[in-house]
């Protein structure tokens, strides 16, 4: 029966792909049903992720001598608290926890990146060679172009972003697209079967 998952995956994939190219009532209905199933499965995947996370930390606590067991305990306790608040208490409580605990902590973590970036810029952006000099000039132009003090640098920043930077990003996107096509074909042809592993 190992062929069954492969057959299902190929069939669903081909039907979904055809819905992008053809407008047929049967195809549309099948595609919509498959997408609905995918959404439900995605929700279950989130639930499975939560269960797996709690199980991993429970095991770490069970092995008492393992380092980091205290942090695992904190994770489990806070997860259960937030879960209880969301399920048992009014939504305002969950919003309060979100806005007064989760949001500031995440913002603080992200803000720390600015200090690390400043240190890295001080150490790395040095004109050691032609390449590093070009990178240094591009960084200075973009940084100063963000400021409203010089319109010339703002235009220069736009040029850097829309000409050389965009060229590189476009190349990356084209490569990614080709990779996605190849991966999709391998899945549709049954060459890759991640669902059966």
């Amino acid at each position: 029966m190992t062929w069954l998952p492969t057959a299902i995956a190929i069939g669903v994939g081909i039907v979904t792909l055809l819905t992008f190219f053809f407008r047929l009532p049967l195809l549309d209905a099948l595609g919509a049903a498959f997408r609905e199933w995918t959404i439900v499965l995605t929700a279950f995947a989130v639930l499975l992720g939560l269960i797996n996370l709690l199980a991993v930390h429970f095991k770490r606590i069970a092995r008492r001598n393992e380092s980091g067991a205290g942090y695992s305990l904190i994770v489990i306790v806070t997860a259960l608290i937030v879960l209880g608040i969301g399920l048992l208490l009014p939504s305002e409580m969950l919003t309060w926890v979100f806005e007064n605990m989760y949001l500031p902590l995440q913002g603080a973590f992200f803000a720390l990146v600015a200090f690390f970036l400043a240190t890295a810029a001080y150490r790395a952006l040095r004109a050691r060679s032609v390449e590093t000099t070009v990178m240094l000039l591009a960084a200075v132009i973009v940084l100063l172009g963000q400021t409203p003090f010089t319109s010339f640098l703002a235009q220069a920043k736009q040029w850097v972003l829309f000409v050389p930077s965009e060229a590189g990003v476009r190349g990356i996107l084209l490569g990614v697209a080709l990779g996605v096509i190849a991966t999709g074909l391998r899945l549709l042809l049954g060459q890759d079967r991640p669902y059966s592993e």
Binding site: A43, F98, G107, F109, R128, V140, L144, V169, R170
Partner: protein, 737 residues
């Protein structure tokens, strides 16, 4: 079809044994693999089935004495004659002048004294035969030289009409005959009891036939029919190339011509004297003189042999050439035949070795000094000890390849580590690699610096940087607005976005995608707040959606703050918040089928059809504008790939500054109708909104944050310049020192 050489039955191609008599079917011309018995082509070096080496590895001869050679391949079966090299003499040996004094070589003298019994058995015809052999000796030696990588000479084209087994091979034939064939040709002539025959199924069919016919053939050799089936290579021996037919070839049947160094064949071939009148001129010239000292017991054959051997040798046997000790090698080779042969042939070979002639030859062989062996012949001998490059390879212990190393090259190829490939790098790549190495080396050097120096540098620089950055971000919040008046808003992307919203009709429905998470909320909230405020001012109906788990919560937060000053803009009536699960599938479903009928909103968990804000809005066709607020590249890509191709409605983007390089690609391609980015774009949007609404009391939070960000960026640029100055000063000081 293959015809069985024993019973004549036709067998299928590839058959190894006869389907009728069970005899092993000899392959006409090919090399039998000693490992798997697969027939291979004559020129094959390795077996095409198992990869076993068919040609043994030998020591290469000295390069200065090795002429360019045509390789002879094959070991266990006679190979096809290879084209002789250019050094082969075209004519027989130069006719010696009778008056010329001929001095026998030392090696020949020793050879003659070492083999007295053979001289007695030599037939008179050997006189002419030996002369012809002189020429043939030159031929095979020339080929032997040319093929110096092969330890044994190939089968010479015999100048006889009789089949190969019908006559005892002459000296050169014995030398050129492969070891496995020598007993077959010598055994019938031995007076000793026949050796115990090997089993018929273990022997090639042709050999069985030869064994069966050997005795009668000796008695009536001419009656052997050449039309009988036999292998090709034997048939090729049947049709020799007679370079120069001489009358000496005709007097006696070939079967009655014994080889000079073969066992006595008196019974089969009694000596027949040849009168001098019957001799051709060239042979008469070669006849020894009467004055020459001849041992009394020597026969005419011995005299002929002496004369032939003492006569001037062909060009290859001139006194300047190394002494041809090949004769000794012949007999020495006979002692090695047992280890070179398959098991089924060892018994007859052992019997043949016990014969007087062979035994005598074995005794004569040590008389040849090793120093007289030319290098090119010594190079043909298999090495006694494995060469250094073969020491690590497997040693064959059984079969005809026993004692050889490196027989299975496949295993060697697997075990042998591959040399790292060194591809030439282009100059640019090489320079980049050197630059990368120098950067790594500088980091490693800094990491390897003394702990005190690193600690001092950390105390001096890192806190300074952190402190400067902290002051640059905090102080502007306590300063009056100093950037809003200087912000350029005339030709900026935010103006395009602002004008697009301004053009929306009254009660337009705008889908705002809050696709960012908490980590970038500090930046994205400012953008979303500026846009949503403008939409609310325009009395547009806002449908906030998010594919991120925390996006709906953030949307609620932004909309709550934005509507705080506008109590008439109520949730459920003027705006709604939805969560779109399923990532790509959810967005595709939204783009194709619209909002699900049984879906509920995020804030009040009410069915969508019960929300006044969603009345008449089932699909994206009912949307006038889509505003994307992606906090990461993949979120923007998600919308561009899953939603944008289905709809032609305008799509605008307010993206994070980190997403701007990716968004610019879509904007440049027309997939995004308009976009702005970052805190600066949000501040510009707020300035534009304030300019459009004179009643607005103050600008939003984006302008204040832009002030802080501008100062922080200036500080960052100053730090970069400072770091470069320090670097160049240190570099100048280093050069000065």
């Amino acid at each position: 079809m293959i015809k069985c050489t024993v019973c004549g039955i036709q067998n299928r191609e590839g058959s190894k044994f006869c389907s009728n008599c069970g005899a092993r079917i000899a392959q006409a011309s090919g090399l039998i693999c000693p490992m798997c018995s697969t027939p291979n082509k004559v020129e094959s070096v390795f077996c095409e089935k198992c990869g076993a080496r068919l040609v043994p590895l030998t020591v290469a001869p000295a390069p200065e004495k090795t002429p360019p050679a045509t390789p002879i391949k094959g070991l266990s079966l006679p190979a096809k004659p290879v084209e002789p090299p250019a050094t082969k003499p075209e004519a027989p040996a130069p006719e010696p002048t009778p008056s010329e004094p001929t001095v026998p070589s030392d090696w020949l003298a020793r050879l003659r004294t070492a083999a007295p019994s053979e001289e007695e058995t030599t037939a008179p015809q050997i006189e002419a035969e030996s002369l012809e052999e002189q020429a043939e000796v030159a031929d095979w030696i020339a080929r032997l030289r040319a093929n110096s990588s092969f330890p044994e000479t190939e089968t010479e084209e015999a100048d006889t009409d009789a089949p190969f087994a019908d006559k005892p091979a002459p000296v050169s034939d014995l030398e050129e005959t492969p070891d496995w064939l020598r007993p077959a040709s010598a055994a019938p002539a031995t007076p000793l009891p026949a050796p115990e025959p090997a089993r018929a199924d273990e022997m090639p069919a042709w050999l069985n036939r030869l064994r069966a016919e050997s005795a009668p053939i000796e008695e009536s050799a001419p009656s052997v029919s050449t039309n009988e089936p036999m292998p090709d290579w034997l048939r090729s021996l049947e049709q020799p190339t007679i370079v120069e037919p001489t009358p000496a070839e005709t007097p006696a049947p070939r079967a009655e011509q014994p080889a000079a160094f073969l066992p006595p064949l008196e019974a089969a071939s009694p000596p027949v004297p040849i009168s001098e009148a019957e001799m051709p001129d060239w042979l008469r010239e070669l006849k020894p003189k009467e004055t020459e000292t001849v041992a009394p017991q020597e026969t005419l054959a011995d005299e002929t042999l002496d004369t032939n051997l003492e006569s001037p040798a062909p060009s290859l046997l001139t006194p300047t050439e190394p002494t041809p000790t090949w004769v000794g090698e012949v007999f020495r080779a006979s002692t090695m035949v047992d280890e070179d042969l398959p098991d089924w042939l060892r018994t007859p070979v052992a019997a043949a070795a016990a014969e007087p002639g062979i035994a005598l030859a074995q005794e004569a062989a040590p008389a040849l000094e090793q120093a007289q062996v030319p290098d090119w012949i010594a190079a043909l001998k298999p090495p006694d000890h494995p060469t250094p490059e073969l020491e690590g390879e497997a040693l064959e212990t059984v079969g005809p390849l026993a004692g050889l190393r490196g027989v299975l090259p496949l295993a060697v190829a697997i075990v042998e580590p591959h040399a790292p490939s060194r591809l030439p790098l282009p100059g640019v790549r090489s320079e980049s690699a050197h630059l990368f190495e120098s950067v790594l080396a500088s980091s490693m050097a800094e990491a390897g610096a003394p702990a005190t120096a690193r600690a001092r540098r950390a105390w001096t620089m890192r806190p300074v940087i952190y402190l400067l950055l902290l002051l640059a971000t905090i102080v502007p919040f306590f300063l009056p607005d100093f950037t809003s008046s200087s912000l350029p808003v005339s030709r900026v992307p935010a103006r395009t976005f602002f004008e697009l919203v301004e053009k929306l009709p009254a009660n337009a429905v705008v889908l705002v995608a809050f696709d960012y998470d908490v980590s970038v909320a500090g930046e994205m909230d400012l953008i979303a707040n500026a846009i949503v405020r403008h939409l609310i001012q325009r009395r547009a109906k806002v449908i906030a959606v998010s594919t991120v788990e925390t996006g709906a919560q953030l949307a609620e937060r932004v909309l709550t703050q934005a509507t705080r000053d506008m109590p008439n803009f109520r949730y459920g009536v003027d705006y709604a918040i939805l969560y779109v699960p399923g990532q790509e599938a959810g967005l595709t479903q939204l783009a194709t089928t619209g909002f699900a009928a049984n879906a509920r909103d995020w804030s009040q968990r009410q069915p969508l059809d019960k929300l006044p804000a969603m009345v008449g809005i089932q699909t994206l066709r009912n949307i006038d504008l889509i505003v994307l607020l992606p906090g990461s590249d993949d979120r923007l890509q998600l919308w561009m790939e899953q939603v944008r191709p289905f709809k032609t409605l305008p799509v605008a983007g307010g993206v994070s500054a980190a997403v701007e390089p990716r968004a610019s690609v879509y904007y440049d391609a027309g997939q995004l109708d308009t976009m702005f980015s970052g805190v600066l774009g949000a501040a510009q949007y707020e300035v534009l909104a304030k300019q459009h609404d004179p009643l607005a009391k103050k600008v939003g939070a984006a302008v204040t944050n832009a002030n802080s960000q501008n100062v922080a960026q200036l500080v960052l640029v100053g730090l970069i310049i400072l770091g470069n100055l320090a670097y160049w000063v240190a570099r100048a000081q280093g050069k000065a020192k």
